[in-house]
């Protein structure tokens, strides 16, 4: 059992939680994730490690309520426990040899980006950040990320703050109009956003790393559910990733695979909302 030490609402249906998990904190690196299970009948779901404190033995996660498991998690309060919390999983992100990087986060994608930007800052890399969200209220972690980046650009779908449009529009402006150059683009967010960004950076010839988020189960390479096509190869996002070359990933296939259980996910959520199903507290 893993104790929730802190919990806060960052945006509508987006939460940040600090969880006591000393063994995970001992080894965690930016880019890695954990798999948790809220209660004994719960599903195993992956969430990125948004921050870690080795001394205090804590891991921070940021998550959005989208279905049953994330809703059950959001219902837990400080002082309560998460049944299972395993990690760190996946390969840490690598930043060796980089000088200037453009990091793009869409929605909760800002969460995994945060420790990466901080690590790059520590390594002396200049990082520009674009954060995108539906509207002002949905933007998260801007204040946390700001101290570690050179420039921060904001884009909202409705224009309630920052640029009125998508993160990809900002990317276009930075490269095509302002003539900015980058050694690498890092894009984390919804698959469609990563697909669009990768398509553009391919034309600009900027190497691009995306963080894939397929359906997972064990997180150790044993089930094959998380397979992603990267170039000619089939990779397991949980052990070979989650970071991959955005110019090689087959995003259309990834989107199809992620949607496989949509009907069942809907049913699970429905039974939860009908009440009586939650046995976790």
């Amino acid at each position: 059992m893993y104790k929730i030490l802190q919990k806060e609402k960052l945006a509508p249906s987006v939460y940040i939680m600090k969880v006591e998990a000393p063994l995970v904190a001992r080894k965690a690196q930016p880019g890695q994730f954990i798999i948790l299970r809220v209660y004994d009948m719960g599903e195993r779901i992956p969430l990125t490690i948004a921050d870690y404190d080795r001394d205090k033995g804590t891991i921070t996660i940021v998550f959005q309520e989208v279905g049953k498991t994330t809703k059950l998690l959001a219902a837990l309060e400080e002082g309560q426990y998460i049944q299972d919390f395993a990690g760190p999983l996946g390969k840490p992100s690598e930043f060796d040899g980089l000088k200037t990087v453009l990091a793009i986060g869409g929605g909760v994608g800002a969460a995994p980006l945060y420790p990466q930007v901080r690590r790059m800052h520590e390594m002396g890399i200049d990082v520009d950040v674009i954060l995108g969200a539906k509207s002002k209220d949905y933007l998260i972690l801007t204040e946390e990320i700001k101290p570690f980046c050179r420039n921060m650009y904001i884009a909202t779908d409705d224009g309630s703050v920052g640029y009125h449009g998508f993160v990809s529009d900002v990317l276009k402006k930075l490269v095509e109009e302002d003539g900015q150059t980058y050694d690498r683009v890092i894009a984390i967010g919804p698959l469609i956003m990563m697909k669009v960004v990768s398509g553009m950076t391919k034309q600009y010839n900027i190497p691009t790393i995306v963080s894939m988020n397929p359906i997972m189960m064990d997180g150790t390479g044993m089930c094959g559910a998380c397979r992603v096509k990267v170039g000619d190869e089939v990779k397991h996002a949980c052990v070979d990733g989650p970071d991959f070359d955005g110019h090689l990933v087959d995003f259309d296939e990834a989107m199809r695979r992620q949607a496989f259980y949509r009907d069942e996910e809907g049913l699970a959520l429905h039974t939860l909302e009908e009440g009586g199903q939650c046995q976790c507290h």
Partner: protein
Amino acid sequence: MPLKLERTPMREQDPVQRRRNFDEVALGYSPDEAIREAQRCIQCKHPFCVEGCPVHVQIPQFIKLITEGRFEDAAQKIKETNNLPAVCGRVCPQEEQCEARCVLNRKGQSVAIGRLERFAADYQMKKGIPDPERPIKIGKKVAVIGSGPAGLTAAADLAKLGYDVTVFESFHELGGVLVYGIPEFRLPKALVKQEIEFLKRLGVKFVTNVIVGNTLTIDDLFDDGYQAVFIGTGAGLPKFMDIPGESLNGVYSANEYLTRVNLMKAYLFPKADTPIKKAHKVAVVGGGNVAMDAARCALRLDADEVHIVYRRSEAEMPARAEEVHHAKEEGIIFDLLTNPIRIIGENGRVTGMECIKMELGEPDASGRRRPVPVKGSEFIMEVDAVIMALGTTPNPLIAATTHGLEIQPWGGIIADEATGATSRPGVYAGGDAVTGAATVILAMGAGKKAAAAIHEYLEGKK
């Protein structure tokens, strides 16, 4: 005592009913039936059956105790060499091991050793397993990685010798393949839980959610004061065929399918949160126990039709004979000498599988006749789910993070057969992690040998 020729049959759930439920198929002997079957054993002076058992269970001795109605003593007798008789009695490939060597087998009617083993173990469990003698602690820590049969056996033996044993398991649940692979209807999970409870009473500590290689390394374990390590991490990596269409939705590895169903209890969805897609026509590719289990699970998840697609003939199938028989009784269709070449889909979902007919040619390296495709015999099976049960290999996570641990080109950890010693002093390994996918009893045997070797190693270090 008259020699009874016929084996005493074991009661089973009716195939028509059981094909739609997850309750245990085989129901076990009653005490009378057990005694009747036990009396068939002629108590050989040179019991060949014992040679057939990888851990040399004292078969005539325990069977004799059953004839005397001393069922709990019989269970204790088995446990002198086999820590998990309730499991082995159910899942050992007895017809190739102990029962294959029984003298009565010449008439095709060997003593039902496995069933008797199961009976004695179940009887003792129902009565309540007596508390183990708490060994005197010798103040040395040993780490066991993986809680499958190999790890559990090593842990039990080391704990009995007085070591402080901690088992680290990557999943949230203990038991390895016994809980995530083999389905409830063949091995009730409550039994595995009881066996693990017994180890806890012996003083073994269990830590779940620890992926050695990620959460901790073997070097960390030594730094944390463990003086020896046993690796029993199994062979968990699935294989795919590398044919077109394998990334379509509805194509699973047997590992994913069985883990969703057994470990995550998808058959209870939506009461359990992990879903599995309902399929109407399912093809399972492979001919081993894993394929049989996946096929029978698919049937129990209300598939209308389930096919086993295997490229050789029934004689070459590696699955236990009893499970093949059970699968047939339940209505699984066997497409033998058939091999998939392509999976077909629409809108990203599986709709069919193209196969080719095979015939048997010359024997290959395994001694089995090699299947070769019959030209022009391609045909399309309409299916909406395909489960690949093609065998598994060991996970590279530990090897990749442990200095000086030598592995085979195919991923198996190199370990001495008699002791389990690896290339790294103080590190031992056994079970599927060393041999590749094998059997429960072989994994237990390896755990046992390694425990003895670890004891010798640590005694020497005094």
